[in-house]
């Protein structure tokens, strides 16, 4: 539920759809949500939306696009969200407050999350240890948009994982995504506290290994039914491909 494609040599990012799919094949991952590293509008890759759309077109049924936007350009961001979802078939919105410097609880961000929810797609936040991205910074947005699914990518990073579970307990529209955070046991704890339907596998690949990230879920001590839901069942529903 969290992979990257981009082509921004000036930032050192050259991640192709083919690289993504090859790493998915190795990890026996059937499908992935893909998004760029940079934001629209105004980011270092003005053709980011087209890049993702073309990748999804080349790998139908394997790649599903998320549009990565900067809420600080509210009108243009909203326009791009509409085009991405209604015309190009994107399945989600990605927000990375470190790159956009847009606080998750800023009214412009909340408006965009709400719009995504109204379009029927979830919002995936980068949620780690950096200012602007911690679970408690995102929580007010979840409270303001109770009908919009909000996914906490990395489920709090290294030092905010307990906080992410706590926030998810209090906001039923929050879903935790497992990529990069290093604690297999926290996946089990999260499921016990918020329910298996609100924890989903992500890899942050292809630079982090989908195969290794999958192992983290496998090592979390889940039942077969839980494993199926975390590794794909719930994400398929979120992507609208169940």
């Amino acid at each position: 539920m969290h992979m990257h494609i981009d082509d921004v040599p000036s930032l050192g990012w050259e991640l192709s759809a083919e690289t993504c799919v090859a790493s998915m094949d190795e990890a026996q991952v059937d499908a992935a949500a893909v998004m760029t590293i940079v934001d629209l509008p105004g980011g270092a890759n003005p053709t980011a939306m087209e890049l993702i759309a073309q990748a999804c077109e080349r790998f139908p049924g394997r790649l599903y696009g998320f549009i990565r936007l900067n809420p600080r350009h509210p009108a243009k961001a909203r326009e791009l969200l509409d085009v991405a979802v209604t015309e190009l078939g994107f399945r989600g919105l990605k927000l990375h407050p470190v790159s956009s410097l847009a606080h998750p609880a800023h009214p412009d961000t909340i408006a965009l999350i709400r719009a995504a929810g109204e379009l029927g797609v979830p919002t995936l936040f980068h949620c780690g240890d950096e200012p602007l991205t911690t679970p408690l910074s995102i929580a007010p947005a979840a409270a303001a948009c109770p009908d919009a699914p909000i996914i906490l990518g990395h489920m709090g990073g290294y030092r905010h994982v307990d906080e992410a579970i706590d926030v998810a307990e209090r906001h039923p529209n929050i879903i935790l995504e497992t990529s990069a955070m290093p604690y297999p046991a926290k996946i089990r704890e999260a499921i016990d506290r918020i329910g298996v339907h609100r924890v989903i596998f992500g890899s942050d690949g292809p630079v982090s290994s989908p195969a290794l990230e999958r192992q983290k879920v496998v090592r979390a001590g889940l039942t077969d039914e839980e494993l199926d839901l975390v590794l794909g069942g719930t994400a398929a529903s979120l992507l609208g491909v169940a």
Partner: protein, 249 residues
């Protein structure tokens, strides 16, 4: 067999624990021969006693555990004395600093005597790295510049940042030839691969940093990294043997 270059034993006042028997079981399950071990920050804060107890556990472990000396530099001269005692009397193989749990910046000038003492004693220094304001990689690099003959080893690849934003700082620190990294918690294969490629496999050591991180999962990280068999041998055990002296040293 692999050597785990850092895990923690005991009961931490910060809410986690790992007993020696459980650690041995985990090492056996993963085929890890030896672990460099550090004391947790004990509830009473008495690191000297924790180091002594750790040394006893290590002595009884049949070379499965290589002890370190963890000191709190705010204790000044008595911490220096504890370090010397732990190394010369109790066989400690390294000095461990945890700037986050003992609350000190690793580049504070008051730590320079510890760098010099580590040099005199001939032991490496492990620094819990990546903690904002106290052990950012470039701060660790400053400490390492005070003891150029001493291996200084940064945990977590030199950063704790889920966006990898500390990677450039880690590489700045690695420009000092005595700086090394542990693989614990490094979520991106390419960071470890880049370090091996740009700085040499001699600078990278496998570590679990258990119990906060997971023995088995952390070992799998190293097996995922693309490197030659010789490089992997160095990362899994050769570098630890060279730096910590190995089980029979």
């Amino acid at each position: 067999m692999p050597i785990d270059a850092l895990c923690f034993l005991g009961v931490s006042r910060f809410g986690y624990e790992l007993g020696a028997a459980d650690a041995i079981r985990a090492l056996d399950a993963e085929g890890i021969g030896t672990a460099v071990v550090a004391a947790m920050h004990p509830r009473d804060g008495d690191l000297a006693r924790a180091n002594a107890e750790l040394a006893e556990v290590a002595a009884r472990s049949g070379d499965r555990f290589l002890p370190t000396a963890r000191v709190d530099p705010w204790d000044g001269q008595s911490a220096l004395d504890d370090l010397t005692h732990a190394v010369t009397r109790n066989g400690a193989r390294a000095l461990l600093f945890h700037p986050d749990e003992e609350h000190f910046p690793i580049n504070d000038i008051r730590l320079r005597p510890f760098a010099e003492r580590a040099d005199e004693l001939g032991v490496p220094v492990i620094v819990a790295t990546g903690f904002h304001c106290v052990s950012e990689a470039v701060q660790v690099g400053r400490f390492a510049s005070w003891c150029p003959r001493v291996p200084v080893i940064m945990t977590n690849g030199g950063q704790l940042n889920i966006s990898g934003q500390g990677q450039f700082d880690a590489e700045l620190a690695l420009r000092l030839p005595n700086v090394h990294i542990l693989t614990s918690g490094v979520y991106r294969d390419d960071f470890l691969e880049r370090t091996v490629k740009n700085f040499g496999a001699e600078r990278v050591l496998f570590a679990s940093a258990a119990p906060q991180f997971d023995f088995a999962y952390e070992l799998r990280r190293v097996h995922r990294v693309r490197m030659t068999a010789d490089q992997r041998r160095l990362v899994l055990s050769g570098n630890a043997e060279r730096i910590f002296g190995g089980p029979a040293a």
